[in-house]
């Protein structure tokens, strides 16, 4: 038995190396995996607090129409009724907080409208779309269309 142990003793060595590697992995894992990982799902629970700390960028539809009631009504009666104000005007939470100090810029129609309405075969046929260069010949869209209610 002693002879067997002596002749097979060297096999313990790769096992020790393997266990040492495993131990090192566990140490690294303990150091790099965020605390409480997996508590609520496959993410670190601290992410929720970190996301909550992000400043609010969008004021929301309700805040816009408090002051811009007129534009709100025009938009609600047209095809853009389901498009929120900040989709085109950008995030305006700061403006809603302090309208005087944060005056938003008007969007550039040359690049704004084609974002949705440029012709693309991947879009449903019923969706209004044009080849902008052929359709307007370089004219700005809002020279013919009202952006809040895009009828001629």
């Amino acid at each position: 038995m002693q002879k067997f142990i002596r002749d097979s003793g060297h096999l313990i060595r790769p096992a020790i190396v393997l266990l040492a590697g495993l131990g090192l992995f566990m140490v690294i894992r303990a150091a790099v995996v965020p605390k409480g990982f997996g508590q609520y799902g496959h993410y670190r629970p601290g992410a929720l607090a970190a996301i909550r700390q992000h400043p609010v960028a969008y004021a929301g539809q309700g805040a816009c129409v408090l002051c811009h009631d007129e534009e709100g009504k025009v938009r609600a009666s047209g095809k853009h009724a389901h498009v929120a104000c900040e989709t085109c005007h950008g995030p305006l939470a700061k403006h809603a907080d302090d309208p005087g100090a944060n005056i938003p810029k008007l969007p550039t129609v040359a690049t704004l409208c084609v974002r949705c309405h440029e012709k693309d075969t991947a879009k449903p046929k019923t969706f209004p779309q044009v080849v902008s260069t052929e359709h307007s010949g370089g004219m700005a869209c809002n020279q013919c269309h009202k952006p809040h209610n895009p009828q001629l």
């Binding site: 002879k3 067997f4 002749d7 060297h10 096999l11 894992r29 995996v33 496959h42 693309d120 991947a122």
Partner: protein
Amino acid sequence: MIPGVDGFMYPNEVELQWSLLIVLYPFVTGLVAGAFILASLERVFKVDAVRPTYRLALLTALAFLLVAPLPLQLHLGHPERSFEMYTTPHRSSAMAMFGFVYLWYLTVVLLLEIWLEYRSDIVRLAESSKGFLRLVYRALTLGSMNVSPDALRIDDKVGYAVTVIGIPSAFLLHGYVGFIFGSIKANPWWSTPLMPIVFLFSAMVSGIAAVLLLYMASMKLKKWPIDMRCADTIAKYLFYTFVIDFTLEMLDLIHRTYESDESFRSLDFMVHTRLWYSHVVLQICLGTVIPLALLAANQLWKFREAKRRVMYVTACSLTMIGIFAMRWNVVIGGQLFSKSFLGYTTYKVDLVTREGLLAAIALMLLPFVIFFVLVKLLPPWQESEAHKA
């Protein structure tokens, strides 16, 4: 019209997300699994004729295994994040599970088997070499200089057990690569339960061909005679494996044709147009039918030694091209058609980019550099071969 696009493609299908490097990944992994299976022929199935390639096959498997994850790392925008699949693996991720299969195969199977096989050589080299190399060999002994006949006998038994465990591990390693593609149910070109099995057999074919080529090239470089009994036996096993691989691929093809689901016309059109050269010419004709014919001829007739050598080198080289083309057709082919089955896109290989041709060539050369270093460090040649020379 978008250049390179015919018909209708969804916007996210126009550019291929998986590039040439993702073609390399199954190719390289396949060589590992195939080389190991060849090594197991001698160790487990007692095919003594292939003994001269046993160590060579193990070193080939190790050299390619070390490179196997690199194409994936280069493909990633943030390769450092890939290690998170070890630290926080998600059980629903096939790739995360593959990471553990890879580590298991590398540490518990391949490194352990190589260590056990080379232990007596390592101890001898640790005593006879000098300087830095002596330190390296001493480290490789792991502090044990016991190479008594009884200790070596135990090594042999443990090595046998490791190889027995290694065979399903090698199957799992490459079966998993096929599994990753086969389980993508949104893609009809990939989604078939036959995919892991086809990948496995093609891996065995490419690995066996690669080891035979490396063996013949090594003998040529060393100006030693090729053990033709060994080469003939490997060629015989290559033929058997290739027949099974080809049959499985044809079974898949017949099944697809007979089933003719809604994707069939689109895939059939693709094979006859965009994939004609890589699939029909390279993979089937040049990479399968010709090598199979060469190998079959050797089973039917007896050729002279010089002729057999040329036939084996030709068959193995064409096999490697054919298996690479198969990986290309799976990975690239699966992304060339639209999921609407109404359009096709084109893949153009970049040259000097992170996922370009030069990166791919460098990644294909790297295993050979590692192999060269391994062969220098752990000579695979048996004494009998040296005597023959």
